[in-house]
């Protein structure tokens, strides 16, 4: 399935999806040294976001989260790309400074808005082209 989205940070990535239906704060919810989700209330608690296509509704919490995303990139524990339903400044700024492709506001081929956390499942193979603004989901 091919979806189109709004490009916030350009780039191309391909990999396995890890999908949360909850908002994420990179400060506190994720261990930047390992990439593991440490927040016990998270629906992907214990999973790693490192080297994955991370899909979640949007960010929350402290603006320091932007710097944590940058640190994860330096540590090689960052996700390969981020897909949000609607992104906000903490995630967007973090993705820019860490050079992680970021898209949000996805639409299907009829032009209807779709929630990425519903149409993408953990384990799906996703090809993200955030230069041209589309992604391809393979099951």
């Amino acid at each position: 399935m091919i979806l189109r989205g709004r490009v916030l940070v350009k780039g191309v990535a391909e990999g396995e999806a890890v999908v949360s239906r909850k908002r994420i704060s990179f400060l506190g919810d994720i261990d930047p040294e390992t990439g593991e989700v440490t927040d016990r209330n998270s629906d992907i608690s214990g999973e790693s976001v490192s080297g994955k296509i991370l899909v979640f509704p949007g960010g929350r919490g402290s603006t320091v989260g932007s710097y944590i995303i940058y640190r994860m990139k330096k540590n090689s524990t960052a996700p390969l790309a981020i897909i949000n339903d609607v992104s906000e400044p903490i995630i967007a700024v973090g993705a820019v400074i860490a050079e992680i492709p970021l898209m949000d506001s996805l639409r299907d081929d009829s032009g209807k808005r779709v929630d990425p956390s519903s149409v993408i499942s953990s384990g799906d193979h996703v090809h993200v082209n955030s230069n041209e603004g589309w992604l391809n989901i393979e099951r």
């Binding site: 603006t63 320091v64 710097y67 940058y70 640190r71 330096k74 400044p89 700024v93 820019v96």
Partner: protein
């Protein structure tokens, strides 16, 4: 979003990698907030620079920057007085990291003026577009001065400093500055009660811009405290005071109305071991008032916070205050510095401190007027 040819070039990397990323930040934020274009800013104030808040990841990013600021750029308070940190009980490890942050900012051309009251230095005018960060400075600039700024994050403020631009959305657009709710204050307020009022109704006001109808005429310092309190418990970047603030009569009166009949004085503790004044940083006028109130030696720790710029302009006043045994610290404040953590009960006259000291430093807080704070220190 429309970009000029020059902005396109910056985004393509023609002015280097740091400027490219700065432009990318501004464009991403512009898309998120549906801005139509970028506009030029007169000045920038950068927050998120205390080592306590941004830690090692923040240092790494700041040290990676390789460009110069395009507009006057000041900095929010750091975690310590940059000269007298030992005096404050700051560890050497912390001081070293904090200085790395400040040196990285100096390298890009930011002025080492670390203050939450940049308006005492930059003196913006009504209608000026700014990219300031600190919540109490933002609300003061919009409300009391009539300048226009959103509340920027650390990296977005730096992006504006390095490009001289910000996306046009939010507070930069006139219609978004209209009041949403009337707040009728049926009380004659004393100075410190403006701060308490802001603290108490911030949450209730939420993200609606209030238009206060006051019994008396608040001073600029009263409105500084009101705004700081409001911005700490609420999310708003602006308020109006009818017939006092510059845009208060430029819009239709809102239909919604709240009434404030009384203010409760919240007391978290009785016997303070520290009295802290200067959140936000004090003006010269406020410091003179304190020096007049300090007519004998202090018996408890009294810490007073202002900007280095204001301190350096009134050396006699500062000398008189410090003769009493009180300390006047600059470059930092009670909210962002870890120095207050070793105390148990702190007395303040600030609604903003009342909000943050328990949350960030685990302190109990006693609230009183400026006069009561100074009296407590000498008791």
């Amino acid at each position: 979003m429309y970009l000029t040819l020059d902005e396109e070039r910056a985004l393509e990397g023609e002015y280097g990698e740091t400027v490219r990323k700065s432009m990318e930040i501004l464009v991403a934020l512009g898309k998120i907030y549906s801005a139509d274009r970028l506009i030029e800013v007169e000045s920038v104030q950068i927050s998120g620079i205390s080592y306590r808040n941004i830690g090692d990841p923040g240092i790494e990013w700041l040290e990676s920057l390789n460009a110069r600021v395009r507009v006057p750029t000041l900095i929010n308070p750091a975690g310590m007085d940059i000269h007298r940190w030992q005096d404050m009980g700051i560890t050497e490890e912390f001081a070293r990291k904090q200085m790395r942050i400040l040196n990285a900012l100096k390298k890009i051309g930011a002025k080492p003026e670390l203050t939450c009251t940049p308006y005492y230095i930059l003196k913006p005018s009504k209608g000026d577009h700014l990219a300031w960060s600190e919540s109490s400075a933002v609300i003061y600039a919009n409300s009391v001065i009539g300048a226009r700024t959103n509340r920027e994050g650390g990296p977005s403020a730096i992006a504006s400093a390095l490009t001289g631009k910000t996306p046009r959305y939010g507070m930069h657009i006139r219609e978004n500055r209209a009041p949403d709710v009337i707040v009728d204050v049926n009380l004659k307020l004393k100075s410190h009660e403006y701060s308490l009022l802001g603290y108490m109704i911030g949450e209730e006001v939420g993200d609606r811009i209030p238009l206060f109808i006051m019994k008396g005429r608040p001073s600029e310092e009263d409105m500084k405290s009101l705004g700081a309190g409001l911005a700490s418990t609420g999310g708003i970047p602006m308020f109006h005071v009818k017939d006092v603030t510059p845009e208060s009569n430029e819009f239709d009166m809102p239909k919604e109305r709240m009434v404030v009949e009384n203010l409760e004085n919240p007391q978290g503790c009785e016997d303070p071991d520290l009295i802290a004044i200067g959140c936000p940083h004090l003006s010269g006028r406020e410091l003179k008032k304190i020096s007049n109130l300090l007519n004998r030696k202090v018996k408890k720790e009294l810490w007073i916070f202002t900007s280095r710029y204001v301190r350096n302009r009134i050396p006699e006043v500062i000398r008189k205050i410090e003769m009493s045994g009180a300390r006047v610290y600059t470059d930092t404040c009670m909210v962002v510095s870890p120095a207050t953590e070793r105390f148990g009960c702190v007395m303040v006259n600030s609604g903003k401190a009342l909000c943050y000291l328990p949350k960030l430093s685990g302190l109990r807080v006693k609230f009183g007027s400026l006069e009561e704070c100074v009296e407590e220190a000498m008791k």
